[in-house]
Amino acid sequence: MVNYATAAIDTTSVMRGLVSTKRVPLGSEIYNRLLETLYDEAASLDERRFDDWVAYIEQDISYTAPLRLTRNGPNRDRDVVRTMKHFDENYGSILMRTGRLSKSAWAEDPPSRTRRFVTNVRIAECETAGEYEVVSYLYVERSRFDNPHNESITAERRDIWRLVDGAYKLARREIIVDQSTLGMSNFAIFL
């Protein structure tokens, strides 16, 4: 196992946005439809329509959120730790989590009021036909109980969306949160 403390040259720990160079231009039909999908997906989560949200997800989904670590010197940019994660989900575990939310999940009962703001969307074609790399910035405001102060979190999401029967489905999501110590009291919500 990679030792995060000393890993001198570890390219996987470098923060990277878009990898593919085959850009899908802003305003193109594919771009617009993917953007619409991202907005609809965010709405399904904000409106707590978990069945609708799961319908966006492919069965081979990898849904992860690596840790961020404050580093300096020659390692200053290698701050994404993929050996440890906040989320490490597959299709089954996502079903377990959404199923739990419909029963006794006190962390979301009463539920949070959330707003997911999705911006800075950049899209490129993957090598596999019909798959698109979609990088977006995510800003979530979360209101709990009668607390007048929202909890919030910012992250970059590095997704792969796949065209299946005319609709885009999420095949991979990596959520790169910006805090090394989270200010959100739990991740009982999806990002």
């Binding site: 995060y4 050996t83 906040h86 029963k103 989270l182």
Partner: protein, 461 residues
């Protein structure tokens, strides 16, 4: 016990007013009192051993991680000779952090403010412009090193203390017999599977702290979803009749450490109905290995533990509990929803960050000698159940801040927390481990033991 108020707050309230030993009640005020918090920093956190991490995080000379001992930021380093050091991350020159990264490797830590430099063992190397003696002439170089804490390694876990005299053996006391079964059972011990998950909650450290004193009751209600998901056996309909996982032997020691030992046969019944009757210790371990122990590792248990310890691990293993003041142990049988049974090995520390703030740190482990696929499995299982997104701690983290908020009310802070479901200690036949034992259905005894350890340290002026 002699009456010894030890603490008298500015308004005349004494420790005995706050912790009523006759009634087994604790005033809610203790969860949000600034004066008490300042005393805790001195009498609890500067006096006991604190968990900072694991030696597997810093395997090479120069490796370091940044951690906190309560509100004191420290650097945990491995020096050239392999020795592990813990030192205050405060430059003796102007008080700047000497180290600004959470982890890395450095043969020298140089303060970015004025350039004073220190070795990984804390000793002062020098300041810039040596010929002009920037470091002055009132202290010798030997006196200008970083302030150091005492360090003790236990099962590879890195503990440190500011206390000059508390021995680690005295700190563990009779809990060692049980804790060895978790931390010291294989040849190469545990390995941390990555840096800890960390998040901050608006609550006092004692709220998660006292719960880590083996609060069994909250499992049925707050963690009801474990039953609904079949993780703890039983069903949503039957949980209050069968109360799975609530029967066993709870243990406490005067130092405030507590453990819940749950019968393996009972745990096993939840997953598959196989009888333990007439089976040898080895056969039992093979039928239901402790979480994280693969079949290949079983012979190592016999090598590293006493016969009594292995017998306990096979029959009624400690699974959850706490080490005083701020450590939670979750070495849990947590079957995967896809049929595996890898379990999860997690330790949490609840690091105080002010009277109304706590940093929750989740360390995730596997046995170092376990195969990579088992480690991967255990990491995923631990992420699912414990920590930032863990389905267990999501619910805890939602409860504690609300208790905290209640402790602010003029009327509500006069309310008391009640620890009156008491069993009283009694020694089950044939039990070889020490400590006070509470066999049967889990009750409040161990949490009360946690409060008594708190009381005793606070009372000792």
């Amino acid at each position: 016990m002699l009456h010894n108020p030890g603490v008298t707050l500015n308004d005349g309230t004494t420790l005995d007013d706050l912790i009523n030993r006759d009634m087994n009640e604790v005033s809610l005020r203790v969860m949000n009192d600034k004066e008490l918090y300042e005393l805790e920093m001195e009498r609890i956190f500067a006096r006991t051993w604190l968990l900072l991490g694991h030696e597997s995080e810093i395997p090479k000379a120069g490796d370091y991680v940044m951690r906190d001992m309560a509100e004191d930021n420290v650097i945990v380093t491995r020096a050239r000779d392999g020795e592990i050091h813990v030192m205050l991350n405060v430059c003796p020159h102007r008080g700047m952090k000497v180290c600004t990264a959470e982890a890395g490797n450095a043969q020298a830590h140089r303060c970015i403010y004025h350039g004073w430099a220190f070795r990984p063992d804390g000793s002062f190397i020098g300041a810039p412009i040596e010929k002009e003696q920037m470091h002055g002439n009132k202290h010798s170089k030997d006196e200008l090193g970083l302030k150091k804490a005492r360090v003790h390694l236990y099962g590879g876990l890195i503990f440190a203390t500011w206390s000059k005299d508390l021995s680690f053996d005295d700190y563990l006391g009779d809990a060692k017999f049980y804790l060895d079964q978790l931390f010291c059972r294989t040849d190469n011990g545990l390995e941390m599977l990555g840096p800890p998950q960390r998040f901050v909650l608006p609550c006092n450290w004692k709220i998660p702290g006292e719960q880590s004193g083996s609060d069994g009751f909250h499992t049925l209600t707050l963690h009801r979803s474990l039953m609904e998901g079949g993780i703890m056996g039983g069903t949503a309909e039957s949980i209050y009749d069968t109360a799975p996982g609530m029967y066993g032997v709870d243990v406490s020691v005067p130092q405030g450490h507590t453990l819940r030992c749950l019968e393996a046969a009972q745990t096993f019944k939840m997953f598959a109905d196989v009888s333990f009757e007439g089976k040898s210790t080895e056969e039992r371990l093979n039928l239901l290995s402790p979480p994280g122990i693969t079949k290949d590792l079983i012979p190592q248990l016999f090598k590293n533990l006493s016969e009594d310890q292995v017998n306990q691990l096979a029959n009624i293993p400690p699974q959850v509990g706490g080490m005083f003041p701020n450590i939670l142990i979750a070495f849990i049988f947590a079957p995967r929803m896809d049929g595996g049974a890898s379990g999860a090995l997690s330790l949490h520390t609840y690091v105080p960050k002010g009277p109304d703030k706590v940093e929750f740190i989740n360390f995730i482990f596997a046995e170092k000698d376990a195969p990579e696929d088992v480690k991967r499995d255990m990491l995923q299982n631990a992420i699912w159940s414990t920590g930032t997104s863990g389905t267990i701690e999501q619910d805890d983290a939602d409860t504690w801040p609300q208790i905290m908020r209640n402790s602010r009310g003029h009327m509500s802070k006069t309310m008391t927390l009640k620890y009156q479901a008491l069993h009283g200690h009694e020694r089950p036949e044939g039990w070889v481990g020490g400590g006070d034992l509470y066999p049967g259905f889990t009750k409040d005894d161990t949490q009360w033991a946690w409060w008594m350890a708190y009381y005793n340290l606070m009372a000792e002026a």
